[in-house]
């Protein structure tokens, strides 16, 4: 049946893309302020572990999500301190965050491994909307609440970036921090806030995995999703709405590959997200928007008086 095929692609693709979108939106904001954080993977896995641990202990999955956001924020602030205040190499600082995150979560997560979560995040049906033909059943039936949050966040972020005073400030800091500084904008503060937001979103993305998508804790369960989120930011040319499209495309592709797996060894299926990512980046690089969309001060520490 054509429709069920479509519905399941939409539904499963969206479910798979939600953590990517959450993390990508956070990183997008950080990068719009000029800060690259290669620690997304590390912040995500720390978020996944802390989300699971708190949800497990408290019995309230939402508390888990909040804890994940908090832990992600703290981790991101560490990166902010190194890369913004100490002006250390952004790449290395982010990589260190990922390494420590993966190691620490493996170390601290031992007692939680292989245990299902009693109260995962609920799945929602949105009455009314779920009867919309074609879109309704896939989009509004049985999806996780965090997915709607991610979609909502994308639209709000788009509005924030392009239609508000705060958006002008954020974008200006990423494009030309000297110009912002000369007009009294606190460049460091903006970058700290943006980086912290990125961490919170990465933490929530991790919690989506451990509290909602597969309510359990497994070591290394982010499996490179943080890196894929980084790729989505680039492919989306730093635009929140394009990030929605890119994340969904990614999820849908993955789901389609999953459907055709019968003919292929399972290892090839597991490879596909990573191959897609490379492919996405290549396709993005062929277009003009990625080249012109990058914030001009991306990855460059700001020092007053240096040009």
């Amino acid at each position: 049946m054509v429709e069920s095929w479509w519905v399941s692609t939409l539904a499963r693709g969206l479910a798979f893309s939600a953590p990517l979108l959450l993390a990508a939106l956070g990183e997008l904001v950080a990068e719009r302020s000029g800060v690259i954080n290669l620690g997304v993977e590390g912040m995500m896995i720390l978020g996944a572990l802390s989300g699971f641990a708190v949800a497990d202990a408290s019995g309230n999955p939402w508390l888990g999500v909040m804890a994940a956001a908090g832990v992600g924020t703290l981790a991101a602030l560490l990166h902010a301190f190194f890369s913004i205040t100490l002006r250390a190499n952004t790449y290395v600082s982010g990589l260190a965050l990922t390494m420590v995150g993966l190691g620490l979560s493996g170390l601290l997560g031992k007692p939680f491994a292989g245990r299902p979560l009693a109260h995962p995040l609920p799945k929602l049906d949105i009455p009314g909307l779920s009867s919309i033909p074609w879109l309704g059943p896939g989009l509004f039936q049985g999806q996780n609440a965090l997915l709607y949050l991610a979609l909502l966040a994308a639209f709000l972020l788009w509005y924030f970036l392009y239609r508000t005073r705060g958006g002008i400030t954020l974008r200006s800091v990423g494009e030309n921090p000297a110009a912002a500084d000369a007009l009294g904008v606190n460049v460091y503060l903006v970058r700290y806030l943006a980086t912290a937001f990125g961490g919170a979103m990465a933490g929530v993305a991790g919690a989506y995995l451990s509290v909602a998508y597969r309510p359990s804790w497994t070591e290394g369960m982010t499996a490179g999703m943080g890196w894929i989120a980084l790729a989505i930011v680039i492919f989306a040319a730093w635009d929140p709405l394009r990030a929605v499209a890119a994340a969904f495309l990614f999820g849908a592709f993955y789901h389609l590959a999953y459907r055709f797996q019968a003919h292929l060894p399972p290892e090839f299926l597991k490879m596909t997200p990573y191959l897609f990512t490379v492919l996405f980046l290549v396709l993005g690089a062929l277009g003009k928007s990625v080249r012109l969309g990058a914030p001009e001060a991306l990855g460059r520490p700001y020092v007053r008086g240096e040009r």
Partner: protein, 354 residues
């Protein structure tokens, strides 16, 4: 607090600050260990007896240091050229695959076979790195992400081989290949598991890369491309070809590390996590700690090798998980980044005066 740039920090100063950073990272690790419930004093004693006081312990340090130094020296070269190769792990695995292929199905006997295995590993690792380098040079595709993604592809490639076409005929339920013929084994130092030709390879390549960097045209190009790509283009340096050679060499030595692991220790292709304990990622720390100087990676490779060996000893004696090593390494990296600050800047307290 203000940071005032230093003009030229002296090498002794740099060394002292870096050493202090590493010591602080070790101290932080002991604190972490205490929080985990193990006694730091006991840990120090175990590590001293098991690694430092025991010659076989030192052989273990060397055994870990070989892949770390090989990959690290290559990464030092890559980072000099601003090629952000985070894919040494995958390149190492590809090297292991190629070496295994030659060992199991390839021609040659004795030393010829080993040579062919090493060559195949070098080429495979090099090409695995050359693809992202090409994409970066040609299309400005982000190299951090592509090299990293190819690590995962390499992992599943190995998984597929050992579960599928290369699965050994005599291994029953296990997922690995048949054992290599004896001619494909690297000799080990008597009484230890150390494949000593690996040590020679690591030293040779670290020296060779340092010489390459400072005494050859290619090395000059690498440094110019890395420090100022715009000036490189202006100088008529063809960055794409420089990048290609850097990738080939950097991925190639990572591939060699994979060759040493399978031919020296395991004698078969097996699960990726058993071939490499994250050597490719950890090599980033080796290169960075060595300030991207290939010769220094000889020392920093030993240091991180020590962390691995100490982790092994602690795992047995104190039942600490392997992830401890990862965390210690991550902490070293963090403290090193922080150490960049006193190295590059003088810290001045107070206002803008003076």
């Amino acid at each position: 607090m203000r940071l005032v740039p230093r003009e030229q920090p002296g090498p002794a100063f740099v060394l002292a600050v870096s050493a202090l950073a590493v010591l602080l990272a070790f101290a932080a690790s002991l604190v972490l260990l205490a929080l985990y419930g193990a006694s730091p004093v006991e840990a120090l004693r175990v590590v001293y007896q098991g690694v430092l006081a025991d010659p076989r312990g030192f052989a273990e340090v060397l055994r870990r240091a070989v892949p770390l130094t090989l990959a690290g020296a290559g990464l030092a070269l890559a980072f000099r050229a601003q090629f952000w190769n985070i894919g040494a792990e995958g390149q190492l695995l590809l090297g292991a695959v190629a070496a295994s292929g030659v060992a199991l199905f390839g021609p040659g006997e004795g030393i010829t076979k080993l040579f062919l295995m090493g060559l195949a590993a070098f080429v495979a690792g090099g090409l695995w790195a050359a693809l992202p380098a090409y994409l970066k040079g040609r299309l400005s595709v982000n190299d951090v992400i592509t090299t990293l993604m190819l690590n995962y592809v390499a992992i599943y490639l190995v998984e597929w081989l050992i579960h599928g076409p290369w699965k050994g005929r005599s291994v029953f339920g296990f997922a690995y290949t048949d054992r290599f013929p004896a001619s494909a084994w690297l000799p080990t130092w008597p009484g230890t598991a150390l494949a000593w030709p690996g040590v020679l390879l690591a030293v040779a390549f670290a020296v060779f890369f340092a010489w390459l960097l400072f005494a050859t045209r290619l090395g000059f190009e690498i440094r110019v491309v890395g420090e100022n790509p715009e000036a490189a283009r202006y100088a008529g340096i063809r960055a794409l070809s420089t990048l290609f050679w850097v990738a080939l060499l950097s991925g190639g030595v990572a591939g060699l590390a994979g060759f040493v692991e399978v031919a020296g220790t395991h004698h078969r292709l097996l699960a990726p996590l058993q071939i490499s304990l994250g050597y490719g990622y950890t090599a980033i720390i080796v290169a960075w700690l060595g300030r991207n100087h290939p010769l220094t990676t000889l020392l920093t490779g030993l240091l991180i090798g020590f962390v691995f060996a100490a982790g092994d000893v602690a795992k047995v004696a104190l039942a600490t998980p392997f992830q401890l090593v990862q965390v210690v390494n991550g902490l070293i990296l963090f403290f090193l980044i922080a150490a960049e600050v006193p190295i590059r800047y003088r810290i001045v307290w107070g206002s803008d005066r003076g």
